[in-house]
Protein backbone atom coordinates (compact mmCIF):
# COMPACT_ATOMS: atom_id res chain seq x y z
CA UNK A 1 0.00 0.00 0.00
CA UNK A 2 1.55 3.33 -0.92
CA UNK A 3 1.74 6.34 1.36
CA UNK A 4 -1.03 8.33 -0.37
CA UNK A 5 -3.59 5.55 0.04
CA UNK A 6 -2.58 5.04 3.66
CA UNK A 7 -2.95 8.79 4.31
CA UNK A 8 -6.48 8.82 2.91
CA UNK A 9 -7.51 5.75 4.89
CA UNK A 10 -5.96 7.21 8.06
CA UNK A 11 -7.76 10.52 7.64
CA UNK A 12 -11.04 8.72 7.05
CA UNK A 13 -10.58 6.61 10.17
CA UNK A 14 -9.71 9.69 12.23
CA UNK A 15 -13.17 11.09 11.56
CA UNK A 16 -14.57 8.29 13.76
CA UNK A 17 -13.39 10.50 16.60
CA UNK A 18 -16.39 12.76 16.04
CA UNK A 19 -18.83 10.19 17.46
CA UNK A 20 -17.93 10.90 21.10
CA UNK A 21 -18.17 14.69 21.03
CA UNK A 22 -21.37 14.42 19.01
CA UNK A 23 -22.99 12.38 21.77
CA UNK A 24 -21.47 14.67 24.38
CA UNK A 25 -22.81 17.87 22.86
CA UNK A 26 -26.26 16.30 22.54
CA UNK A 27 -26.16 15.37 26.23
CA UNK A 28 -25.15 18.90 27.25
CA UNK A 29 -27.99 20.59 25.40
CA UNK A 30 -30.47 17.92 26.54
CA UNK A 31 -29.48 18.70 30.14
CA UNK A 32 -29.79 22.44 29.43
CA UNK A 33 -33.27 22.11 27.94
CA UNK A 34 -34.31 19.90 30.84
CA UNK A 35 -32.97 22.36 33.40
CA UNK A 36 -34.56 25.43 31.77
CA UNK A 37 -37.81 23.51 31.39
CA UNK A 38 -37.92 22.66 35.07
CA UNK A 39 -36.70 26.04 36.34
CA UNK A 40 -36.98 28.89 33.81
CA UNK A 41 -35.59 31.39 36.32
CA UNK A 42 -32.19 29.66 36.22
CA UNK A 43 -31.93 30.07 32.43
CA UNK A 44 -29.19 32.72 32.55
CA UNK A 45 -26.51 31.05 34.66
CA UNK A 46 -27.22 27.54 33.34
CA UNK A 47 -26.88 28.75 29.75
CA UNK A 48 -23.47 30.28 30.51
CA UNK A 49 -22.24 26.98 31.96
CA UNK A 50 -23.71 25.17 28.93
CA UNK A 51 -21.68 27.30 26.52
CA UNK A 52 -18.48 26.75 28.49
CA UNK A 53 -18.97 22.97 28.59
CA UNK A 54 -19.91 22.98 24.89
CA UNK A 55 -16.58 24.58 24.03
CA UNK A 56 -14.69 22.05 26.15
CA UNK A 57 -16.44 19.09 24.47
CA UNK A 58 -16.06 20.59 21.02
CA UNK A 59 -12.33 20.85 21.70
CA UNK A 60 -12.16 17.05 21.57
CA UNK A 61 -13.87 17.03 18.19
CA UNK A 62 -11.38 19.64 17.04
CA UNK A 63 -8.48 17.47 18.30
CA UNK A 64 -9.78 14.65 16.07
CA UNK A 65 -10.10 17.04 13.12
CA UNK A 66 -6.55 18.31 13.72
CA UNK A 67 -5.24 14.71 13.69
CA UNK A 68 -7.12 14.01 10.45
CA UNK A 69 -5.68 17.15 8.81
CA UNK A 70 -2.20 16.32 10.10
CA UNK A 71 -2.40 12.83 8.63
CA UNK A 72 -3.71 14.16 5.33
CA UNK A 73 -1.44 17.18 4.85
CA UNK A 74 1.41 16.81 7.34
Amino acid sequence: MDVEAAKLIGAGLATLGFIGPGVGIGLIWAALINAVGRNPAAAGSVTTTAWVSFALVEALAIFALAIALLILFG
Binding site: W51, V52, L56, E58, I62, F63, L65, A66, F73
Partner: protein, 247 residues
Protein backbone atom coordinates in the same frame (compact mmCIF):
# COMPACT_ATOMS: atom_id res chain seq x y z
CA UNK B 1 -6.90 26.10 -15.44
CA UNK B 2 -7.77 26.45 -11.75
CA UNK B 3 -4.77 25.28 -9.74
CA UNK B 4 -5.67 23.42 -6.60
CA UNK B 5 -4.31 25.64 -3.84
CA UNK B 6 -3.47 23.89 -0.64
CA UNK B 7 -6.00 25.11 1.99
CA UNK B 8 -3.18 25.10 4.53
CA UNK B 9 -1.23 27.72 2.57
CA UNK B 10 -2.95 30.55 4.46
CA UNK B 11 -1.05 29.62 7.62
CA UNK B 12 2.40 30.18 6.14
CA UNK B 13 4.56 32.64 8.04
CA UNK B 14 6.15 35.19 5.73
CA UNK B 15 8.99 37.43 6.90
CA UNK B 16 8.06 41.01 6.08
CA UNK B 17 11.25 42.60 7.48
CA UNK B 18 14.07 40.02 7.61
CA UNK B 19 16.17 40.45 10.76
CA UNK B 20 18.96 37.99 11.45
CA UNK B 21 20.67 38.02 14.85
CA UNK B 22 23.50 35.52 14.54
CA UNK B 23 21.84 32.13 14.22
CA UNK B 24 18.43 33.45 15.27
CA UNK B 25 15.79 34.40 12.73
CA UNK B 26 14.09 37.31 14.48
CA UNK B 27 12.33 38.79 11.46
CA UNK B 28 9.19 40.85 11.67
CA UNK B 29 6.68 38.43 10.16
CA UNK B 30 3.04 38.70 9.15
CA UNK B 31 2.27 37.01 12.48
CA UNK B 32 4.09 39.79 14.37
CA UNK B 33 2.30 42.41 12.27
CA UNK B 34 -1.10 41.12 13.30
CA UNK B 35 -0.05 40.84 16.94
CA UNK B 36 0.98 44.51 16.83
CA UNK B 37 -2.34 45.35 15.15
CA UNK B 38 -4.27 43.47 17.84
CA UNK B 39 -2.45 45.38 20.58
CA UNK B 40 -3.00 48.71 18.79
CA UNK B 41 -6.73 48.02 18.32
CA UNK B 42 -7.16 46.94 21.94
CA UNK B 43 -5.22 49.94 23.28
CA UNK B 44 -7.12 52.33 20.99
CA UNK B 45 -10.42 50.90 22.20
CA UNK B 46 -9.60 51.19 25.88
CA UNK B 47 -7.80 54.56 25.73
CA UNK B 48 -9.71 56.61 23.20
CA UNK B 49 -13.16 55.21 23.89
CA UNK B 50 -12.98 56.20 27.54
CA UNK B 51 -11.51 59.67 26.79
CA UNK B 52 -14.82 61.56 27.35
CA UNK B 53 -15.38 60.48 30.92
CA UNK B 54 -19.15 60.83 30.84
CA UNK B 55 -21.17 59.49 33.74
CA UNK B 56 -23.70 58.29 31.20
CA UNK B 57 -21.47 56.59 28.62
CA UNK B 58 -21.76 57.12 24.91
CA UNK B 59 -21.53 54.15 22.51
CA UNK B 60 -17.77 53.58 22.47
CA UNK B 61 -17.34 54.26 26.17
CA UNK B 62 -20.12 51.76 26.82
CA UNK B 63 -18.32 49.10 24.78
CA UNK B 64 -15.07 49.65 26.69
CA UNK B 65 -16.89 49.61 30.04
CA UNK B 66 -18.78 46.43 29.10
CA UNK B 67 -15.47 44.73 28.22
CA UNK B 68 -14.03 45.75 31.59
CA UNK B 69 -17.14 44.68 33.48
CA UNK B 70 -17.35 41.34 31.68
CA UNK B 71 -13.82 40.35 32.68
CA UNK B 72 -14.08 41.91 36.15
CA UNK B 73 -17.17 39.80 36.85
CA UNK B 74 -15.46 36.69 35.48
CA UNK B 75 -12.42 37.26 37.69
CA UNK B 76 -14.40 37.98 40.85
CA UNK B 77 -16.78 35.04 40.22
CA UNK B 78 -13.98 32.55 39.67
CA UNK B 79 -11.13 33.76 41.89
CA UNK B 80 -12.93 35.78 44.55
CA UNK B 81 -11.50 38.77 46.38
CA UNK B 82 -7.85 37.98 45.59
CA UNK B 83 -8.76 38.12 41.91
CA UNK B 84 -8.07 41.84 41.71
CA UNK B 85 -4.31 41.23 41.56
CA UNK B 86 -4.74 39.03 38.51
CA UNK B 87 -7.27 41.17 36.71
CA UNK B 88 -4.80 43.07 34.42
CA UNK B 89 -3.22 39.79 33.33
CA UNK B 90 -6.55 38.07 32.65
CA UNK B 91 -7.86 41.14 30.81
CA UNK B 92 -4.75 41.29 28.61
CA UNK B 93 -5.05 37.60 27.78
CA UNK B 94 -8.72 37.93 26.86
CA UNK B 95 -8.31 41.03 24.75
CA UNK B 96 -5.19 39.71 22.96
CA UNK B 97 -6.82 36.38 22.04
CA UNK B 98 -10.14 38.04 21.15
CA UNK B 99 -8.63 40.62 18.83
CA UNK B 100 -6.30 38.00 17.38
CA UNK B 101 -9.24 35.75 16.53
CA UNK B 102 -11.37 38.60 15.18
CA UNK B 103 -8.60 40.14 13.06
CA UNK B 104 -8.19 36.73 11.47
CA UNK B 105 -11.75 36.92 10.16
CA UNK B 106 -10.84 39.80 7.83
CA UNK B 107 -10.16 38.67 4.25
CA UNK B 108 -6.48 38.24 3.35
CA UNK B 109 -5.45 38.59 7.00
CA UNK B 110 -3.48 36.24 9.19
CA UNK B 111 -4.73 34.56 12.37
CA UNK B 112 -1.78 34.49 14.71
CA UNK B 113 -3.70 32.37 17.23
CA UNK B 114 -3.85 29.56 14.67
CA UNK B 115 -0.22 28.69 15.30
CA UNK B 116 0.67 26.21 18.05
CA UNK B 117 3.86 28.20 18.72
CA UNK B 118 1.86 31.26 19.79
CA UNK B 119 -0.83 29.46 21.79
CA UNK B 120 1.58 27.03 23.44
CA UNK B 121 3.77 29.92 24.55
CA UNK B 122 0.78 31.67 26.12
CA UNK B 123 -0.44 28.44 27.74
CA UNK B 124 3.01 27.56 29.11
CA UNK B 125 3.42 31.08 30.54
CA UNK B 126 0.05 30.72 32.27
CA UNK B 127 0.86 27.21 33.52
CA UNK B 128 4.29 28.11 34.89
CA UNK B 129 2.90 31.32 36.43
CA UNK B 130 0.09 29.38 38.14
CA UNK B 131 2.47 26.70 39.48
CA UNK B 132 4.93 29.30 40.80
CA UNK B 133 2.10 31.25 42.47
CA UNK B 134 0.87 28.04 44.08
CA UNK B 135 4.34 27.26 45.42
CA UNK B 136 4.80 30.79 46.74
CA UNK B 137 1.42 30.81 48.47
CA UNK B 138 1.35 27.29 49.84
CA UNK B 139 4.91 25.98 49.81
CA UNK B 140 5.13 22.22 50.09
CA UNK B 141 1.41 22.03 50.98
CA UNK B 142 0.84 22.50 47.22
CA UNK B 143 1.16 18.74 46.75
CA UNK B 144 -2.04 18.14 48.70
CA UNK B 145 -3.83 19.43 45.58
CA UNK B 146 -3.26 16.07 43.93
CA UNK B 147 -5.08 14.10 46.62
CA UNK B 148 -8.73 15.12 46.86
CA UNK B 149 -10.45 14.83 50.23
CA UNK B 150 -12.33 11.71 51.28
CA UNK B 151 -10.47 9.24 49.10
CA UNK B 152 -9.91 5.67 50.44
CA UNK B 153 -6.21 5.14 51.13
CA UNK B 154 -5.83 2.11 48.85
CA UNK B 155 -7.11 4.13 45.87
CA UNK B 156 -4.83 7.11 46.43
CA UNK B 157 -1.65 6.04 44.52
CA UNK B 158 -3.62 5.54 41.31
CA UNK B 159 -5.59 8.73 41.87
CA UNK B 160 -2.45 10.79 42.53
CA UNK B 161 -0.92 9.57 39.25
CA UNK B 162 -4.10 10.44 37.36
CA UNK B 163 -4.29 13.88 38.99
CA UNK B 164 -0.64 14.68 38.25
CA UNK B 165 -0.99 13.64 34.61
CA UNK B 166 -4.16 15.67 34.18
CA UNK B 167 -2.44 18.67 35.81
CA UNK B 168 0.43 18.49 33.33
CA UNK B 169 -1.85 18.17 30.31
CA UNK B 170 -3.45 21.55 31.18
CA UNK B 171 -1.17 23.79 29.08
CA UNK B 172 -1.38 21.40 26.14
CA UNK B 173 -5.16 21.11 26.15
CA UNK B 174 -5.47 24.89 26.61
CA UNK B 175 -3.21 25.66 23.66
CA UNK B 176 -4.39 22.90 21.32
CA UNK B 177 -8.05 23.81 21.87
CA UNK B 178 -7.46 27.39 20.70
CA UNK B 179 -5.03 26.60 17.89
CA UNK B 180 -7.03 23.67 16.46
CA UNK B 181 -10.32 25.61 16.56
CA UNK B 182 -8.80 28.52 14.65
CA UNK B 183 -6.91 26.34 12.18
CA UNK B 184 -9.86 24.03 11.52
CA UNK B 185 -12.26 26.95 11.06
CA UNK B 186 -10.10 28.77 8.56
CA UNK B 187 -9.22 25.58 6.68
CA UNK B 188 -12.93 24.75 6.40
CA UNK B 189 -13.61 28.22 5.00
CA UNK B 190 -10.87 27.77 2.38
CA UNK B 191 -12.03 24.28 1.42
CA UNK B 192 -15.67 25.32 0.98
CA UNK B 193 -14.54 28.45 -0.83
CA UNK B 194 -12.59 26.25 -3.20
CA UNK B 195 -15.84 24.59 -4.25
CA UNK B 196 -17.45 27.81 -5.46
CA UNK B 197 -15.61 28.19 -8.76
CA UNK B 198 -15.68 24.55 -9.95
CA UNK B 199 -19.38 24.24 -9.10
CA UNK B 200 -20.16 27.70 -10.48
CA UNK B 201 -18.52 26.78 -13.80
CA UNK B 202 -21.19 24.11 -14.27
CA UNK B 203 -24.06 26.45 -13.46
CA UNK B 204 -24.59 29.56 -11.36
CA UNK B 205 -27.30 27.82 -9.30
CA UNK B 206 -24.79 25.18 -8.19
CA UNK B 207 -22.26 27.87 -7.34
CA UNK B 208 -24.61 29.66 -4.96
CA UNK B 209 -24.76 26.69 -2.58
CA UNK B 210 -21.13 26.90 -1.36
CA UNK B 211 -21.50 30.67 -1.03
CA UNK B 212 -24.54 30.23 1.24
CA UNK B 213 -22.53 27.67 3.18
CA UNK B 214 -19.68 30.18 3.47
CA UNK B 215 -22.02 32.82 4.89
CA UNK B 216 -23.27 30.41 7.55
CA UNK B 217 -19.77 29.13 8.37
CA UNK B 218 -18.38 32.68 8.64
CA UNK B 219 -21.13 33.52 11.14
CA UNK B 220 -20.24 30.37 13.07
CA UNK B 221 -16.55 31.34 12.96
CA UNK B 222 -17.29 34.72 14.55
CA UNK B 223 -19.13 32.93 17.35
CA UNK B 224 -16.26 30.44 17.75
CA UNK B 225 -13.70 33.28 17.77
CA UNK B 226 -15.43 34.95 20.72
CA UNK B 227 -16.21 31.65 22.46
CA UNK B 228 -12.63 30.38 22.26
CA UNK B 229 -11.26 33.65 23.66
CA UNK B 230 -13.81 33.39 26.49
CA UNK B 231 -12.93 29.72 27.16
CA UNK B 232 -9.18 30.46 27.20
CA UNK B 233 -9.74 33.27 29.69
CA UNK B 234 -12.16 31.45 31.96
CA UNK B 235 -9.89 28.40 32.12
CA UNK B 236 -7.02 30.72 33.06
CA UNK B 237 -9.21 32.11 35.86
CA UNK B 238 -10.05 28.58 37.02
CA UNK B 239 -6.36 27.58 37.07
CA UNK B 240 -5.47 30.73 39.03
CA UNK B 241 -8.28 29.88 41.46
CA UNK B 242 -6.83 26.38 41.86
CA UNK B 243 -3.45 27.91 42.67
CA UNK B 244 -4.76 30.50 45.12
CA UNK B 245 -7.45 28.43 46.90
CA UNK B 246 -8.22 24.74 47.49
CA UNK B 247 -4.59 23.72 47.93
Amino acid sequence: MAEAHNPLEQFEIKALVPIQIGDLNASFTNSSLFMVLAVICATALMVFAVRPRNTIPGRWQLIAELCYQFIANMVSDNIGKEGKTYFPFVFSIFVFVLFGNFLGMLPYSFTFTSHIAVTLTMALVIFIMVTVIAFIKHGMHFFSFFLPKGVPIFLSPLLIVIEVISYFTRPFSLSIRLFANMMAGHTLLKVVGGFVFPLGAISAAFGIVPVAGLVAITGLEFLIAFLQAYIFTILTCIYINDAVHLH
